[in-house]
Structures are given as C-alpha cells and as structure tokens.
C-alpha cells in the first residue's frame, strides 16, 4: 500500500515537472522571438545587415564569398613601383 502511494506521488511530481517545463518553454518562445526582432532591428539600424550594407554590389558579394574569378578573366594593372634586377628588394 505504501509502495503504491509512493509511486503515485512520484508520477504526480514528474507530471508536474513536465507541465512546468512545457509552460516555461511556451512562455519563453515569444520572449526569444521578441529579443531576435529587437536584435534584427538594431543590426538594420546600424547598417550591419548584408541587405542594407552601404557598399557597392561587388563588395557585398565579395563579403558573402561569391568572389570566384573565372579563368580567362583579364586584370588590367599598373605597377606601383619599379622592379629591378640590380635592386630587386627596393620596393619591399
């Protein structure tokens, strides 16, 4: 008889704990989403989000990693300094 009461009380307590956890989760969910909204708004306002980055499309895409340069692409450059066999380290 005592054993049955003990088991009953135990089940009741476990049940209550589960209900409490469930309630806590359902209450916490809106709070987290609200906090995320606030964070998103802050990021947008600060100009940190990719969608509102102030740079040009090339910078945005480069920052996202879409920066592969296809083989055959030509890069027109101008040398910034002289390269010489007499003093090859001059521009280091």
């Amino acid at each position: 008889m005592g054993e049955e009461i003990f088991t009953h009380v135990l089940i009741q307590k476990v049940w209550m704990i589960l209900v409490a956890l469930s309630c806590a989760h359902s209450l916490a969910q809106p709070f987290y989403s609200y906090r995320q909204n606030i964070l998103d708004e802050f990021v947008l306002a600060a100009g940190l989000a990719p969608s509102v980055r102030s740079g040009t499309p090339d910078e945005n895409s480069a920052a996202k990693g879409h920066c592969a340069i296809p083989a055959g692409t030509i890069l027109p450059i101008r040398l910034n300094s002289t390269v010489s066999s007499a003093n090859p380290n001059r521009d280091k």
Partner: protein, 206 residues
C-alpha cells in the same frame, strides 16, 4: 613584394564587379643578374587580389606589358579637342592599334572600322579578346566569352610595348603557379613603375 593597381572596373560573369583601385599583389621569385654570356632575368608571380575587404588567391599569366609613355599615348587623343568637344568622347588609339570612338562609343580594329570588337567605357574599354596573329596570345579561353576590361590595350595586344630591352621569356601559362619570366639584353633589367600589364587568370587556387 610587388603591387599593382587595377585600372578599370572588371565585370564578372556573376554580375558583380571588381572595382578600379583594387590591388594585385605579387612577389619576386628569382633574380638572375647578367653575367658573361647570360642575360639578366627576373621571375615574378602575382598571386593575390585584394578586393573589398578580402584577399583572393589567384594565379595569373602575362598577356601584354607596356611602358609608361605608351600608356600616356593611348590615353591622349591624336587630334586635340575643338571648342565644343567633350574630352572623353574623343577618339583614341589603343596600344596595339584598336580605335576607341570615345567613352560609350564602339571599339574597332585598326584595319577595319566596321569590325567592332568592344565599346569604350569609363576608364577603358570592354572588348572581346582576340588571338594575336603571329604571336602566342590566345583568344577566348575556358569558355569565358565575356568582354574583358582591357583598359588602354587592344583586343589582340600581346607581348611588350615601349619596353624594347625587355623580353617575355615565359608568360606564366605553363602550370597553375603563374611564374612570369622577363629577360633583358642590358646588365640591369628594369621594369619601371607605372608600366601597365594585362594579366589573365589561370585558375583559382582555392
């Protein structure tokens, strides 16, 4: 370390652009001073493109190189502007002979004014790359048929211009490392600052 500045915006097939002013970084691989019976040599490699806030590994080969004076010539209209002319709309002659009919105008080959190979844009031209007759430069490679940013160079520009004492021994096309080798018949091989180059991407290394 050797650095070069991208002189014209470069459109990529993905719709994005490499900005003018981005930096290409390279280094000297080897220097061989001139000695008895041997010419001076410099081997160098351009292996990084600093673009926006990131660095991209690249391997390049050399298509053409031109001295400072040839670049200035190409940027100066052979016929001076009249009273009501807009300077950037004047006709110029590219290094290698292509004719640019001003910014926004067509680019044609030197021999045939009806042979349009590209168009003039801000800071340069966007032209279809052509193989150079009698030289080793290739036309379209790897199926990349997009018009290329050639700045002051012709669509078939190939080799050295205005740097008479410099020879391209290896353009860096063999292998993926892109080591470019120059030699000179003078004791001191000197590639002056301000020289312009057309580098071509071999292969992305990452």
């Amino acid at each position: 370390m050797i650095t070069g500045r991208i002189m014209q915006y470069i459109p990529l097939s993905s719709g994005i652009r490499i900005k003018e002013g981005s930096k290409v970084v390279g280094h000297i691989v080897e220097v061989t001073p001139a000695s008895t019976g041997k010419t001076a040599r410099i081997s160098l490699q351009f292996d990084k493109l600093i673009w926006g806030h990131q660095t991209i590994s690249i391997a390049t080969n050399l298509r053409a190189i031109a001295g400072f004076m040839r670049i200035n010539e190409a940027q100066t209209p052979p016929i001076g502007p009249g009273e009501s002319d807009v300077y950037r709309w004047l006709t110029t002659v590219q290094i290698g002979g292509d004719i640019v009919y001003g910014e926004g105008g067509p680019v044609t080959t030197a021999n045939d004014p009806n042979d349009v190979v590209g168009k003039g844009v801000y800071g340069g031209v966007l032209s279809q790359v052509r193989a150079s007759e009698g030289a080793k430069c290739r036309g379209v490679i790897e199926g990349n048929e997009a018009p290329q940013a050639l700045w002051v160079f012709s669509s078939d520009a190939c080799g050295t211009y205005g740097l008479e004492h410099i020879t391209i021994v290896s353009a860096g096309r063999s292998g993926v490392t892109g080591v470019i080798v120059f030699s000179s018949d003078r004791d001191n091989l000197k590639i002056p600052g301000g020289a312009g180059m057309l580098l071509r991407i071999n292969k992305n290394r990452d």
